[in-house]
């Protein structure tokens, strides 16, 4: 097993605030490693340190077997690249955006043209070269950002919440791209995510993070199998709830997740359980609808986020649920903040982690 990069006792502080606390982490050559943790757990800081745009306050970073001198990172920075969570594009054409890093690496024009074309094909944006990057939709801009990083063929690719704020179509495309470049180009990838299901699907290993510390490292099966205390604290993650399950006579179970919310689950469970409901599996209505859905709750809309063709809503029913609906439905239903709504989902849509 070759090591791509390693953090040894890395601590990062901003003033009195400890963002990373003696982090030790090995990144293996060719793997996808997911940093899984709630917001503010230090995921982005690790990525910035690995991208060499942030210095650790103490500790050591080795990259490709050599200790990184943070006073002079210009050379190593050419070997590692980071795609930010908040998409940023240069106010120029898609071509110029993707070719930027290639130009810095003094690639001849023919190579640049070829690589930009290949990069765009990979993220399914063929023929977008001349378009103004700032005029693309959020999802397309994020795909340009990924292509811009991929064409550099760096030894290490760092992705910060690559699919957060993307609609499922764009998120799906990006997940496919991440998988492809890792499999075909053997690119080592470190991605920060707080999406449990992405963490379960894509990576070879997961590093769980909480309050600046790495609490567990292992394969997805190992980490999810243990259902550690840390993982349970992830209730902050969209539609992930922890509670106590009780089997019902009907062969299902009922998980009491607190605040009077009881979720019916198709599987039989007892004791501490973590459940997840995909935001797309939740049906939203203005009145209570009679249906086969075993879980129906009444609540209020507390947050509205506009994604490309979708709208993400937070509905407080005692616990906060994230619901995704199409923009058309959103407009037709005349929804607004604080509007009273009903959410419904089947017991079989509830996934037990």
């Amino acid at each position: 097993m070759t090591v791509n990069a390693e953090l040894k006792d890395v601590t990062k502080t901003y003033g009195n605030k400890i963002v990373l606390d003696t982090v030790n982490l090995q990144i293996r050559e060719g793997e996808i490693l997911a940093l899984l943790g709630p917001n503010g757990s230090g995921k982005t800081t690790i990525l910035k340190i690995l991208a060499f745009i942030e210095n650790p306050s103490s500790g050591e970073v080795t990259f490709q077997g050599e200790k990184v001198n943070f006073k002079n990172t210009e050379k190593v920075r050419l070997q590692s690249t980071l795609v930010f969570q908040k998409t940023t594009v240069f106010g120029t054409s898609v071509y110029n955006n993707i070719a930027y890093g290639l130009k810095l690496r003094k690639m001849p024009k023919e190579t640049r043209d070829r690589e930009v074309k290949k990069g765009l094909e990979l993220v399914k944006l063929e023929g977008f070269e001349k378009r103004n990057a700032r005029k693309l939709s959020g999802g397309e801009q994020q795909r340009v950002a990924i292509a811009r990083a991929l064409v550099l063929k760096t030894k290490l690719l760092l992705l910060d919440e690559p699919t957060a704020n993307l609609d499922p179509k764009n998120a799906g495309i990006l997940e496919e791209v991440i998988d492809t470049v890792n499999r075909e180009n053997k690119t080592t990838i470190v991605m920060a995510t707080h999406n449990m299901f992405q963490a379960k699907k894509l990576p070879h290993r997961i590093a769980l993070m909480d309050e600046g510390k790495i609490t567990e490292v292992g394969s997805p099966a190992e980490v999810f199998g243990k259902l550690s205390k840390n993982l349970a604290s992830f209730a902050a993650v969209d539609n992930t709830f922890t509670g106590t399950a009780k089997a019902t006579a009907a062969g299902t179970s009922r998980v009491d997740v607190g605040n009077g919310v009881q979720i019916e689950v198709a599987a039989q469970r007892q004791g501490a359980t973590v459940v997840f409901i995909n935001p797309q599996d939740i049906i939203l209505s203005k009145t209570a609808v009679k249906s086969s859905a075993r879980n129906v709750f009444k609540g209020k809309i507390t947050e509205i986020t506009d994604l490309d063709s979708l709208v993400k809503l937070k509905v407080d029913v005692g616990k906060t649920f994230t619901v995704q609906i199409t923009k058309q439905s959103f407009n037709e239903m005349g929804l607004c903040l604080n509007a009273e709504v009903f959410i419904a989902f089947k017991a079989s849509s509830v996934q037990v982690i």
Binding site: R77, T81, L82, V83, F84, F90, Y100, L104, A149
Partner: protein
């Protein structure tokens, strides 16, 4: 009324006949102000970048200082420069008073606060993530700063244009350090100072002719910049020498 009409007709005749005195003054104005803007760009742009991109103590004071200087009455600046350039002044040894050099430097100093203030706000309005983005793609610090500058290019061009307009229309400083000398070796009469003098000696035809030409020049330069900006030409040019030209040639091929 009849006088104004006849003076205007005389002015048009002077313009159309290509009067050498008038066009001498016009070309001197363009040369002096052109040099002044180049000087101001040379020291003002790095200064804008420094103020906008670096964090240091007293940054707000410096920014306020430059903003205040925009409103400084030109006669006050003229007086300071006059005293500095005069024989007994600290810069008297340069022998610049009443020479084109004094005008160019005077105008450059006058427009620096405009250039810096607008430049700083243009650079500061660029998404702060651009710098990090460029660096993650492999840019060195100076390359990343250039990337930021490119994003601010429209505002920066605007600061250059505003500064040039101010320089070519300037009277107070030019009169005090240039002296409006016509004839002889080092002529310093420019459009604004000539208009002021012509009015004093009731040469209204000449004054109107210069006034018309001054407005025409300002209009033409502004129009060219607007059109070039619209065609994105300057932006492309700033982004890479002849980038647009090369691209259009490639498309033709």
């Amino acid at each position: 009324m009849a006088d104004i009409l006849s003076d205007t007709i005389q002015a048009l005749q002077l313009i159309l006949s290509g009067d050498p005195t008038i066009y001498g003054i016009v070309s001197r104005s363009l040369l002096f102000s052109g040099t002044a803007i180049i000087l101001a760009i040379l020291w003002g742009t790095p200064l804008s970048m420094l103020i906008a991109m670096k964090e240091f103590r007293g940054k707000i004071i410096i920014k306020t200082f430059f903003n205040t200087l925009i409103g400084l009455p030109t006669v006050v600046l003229g007086l300071i420069l006059f005293l500095s350039f005069s024989r007994s002044g600290p810069l008297g040894f340069l022998g610049l008073l009443y020479t084109p050099g004094a005008i160019m430097i005077g105008q450059a100093i006058l427009i620096t606060p405009i250039l810096v203030s607008i430049g700083v706000s243009a650079i500061e309005s660029v998404d702060p993530d651009i710098m990090n983005l460029a660096q993650t793609l492999g840019a060195s610090e100076s390359q990343a700063q250039i990337a930021v500058l490119k994003e601010a290019i429209n505002g920066i061009l605007l600061s250059y244009l505003g500064s040039f307009n101010r320089a070519i229309g300037e009277l107070g400083v030019v009169l005090m350090v240039g002296g409006n000398i016509e004839g002889g070796g080092l002529q310093t009469a420019v459009m604004t100072t000539s208009i002021a003098r012509d009015v004093q000696i009731s040469e209204f035809g000449l004054a109107i002719a210069l006034g018309i030409l001054l407005v025409l020049i300002l209009f033409t330069i502004n129009m060219i910049v607007v059109l070039l900006r619209k065609a994105n030409y300057l932006v492309e040019l700033a982004k890479g020498p002849y980038a647009k030209l090369k691209r259009s040639r490639e498309t033709k091929r």
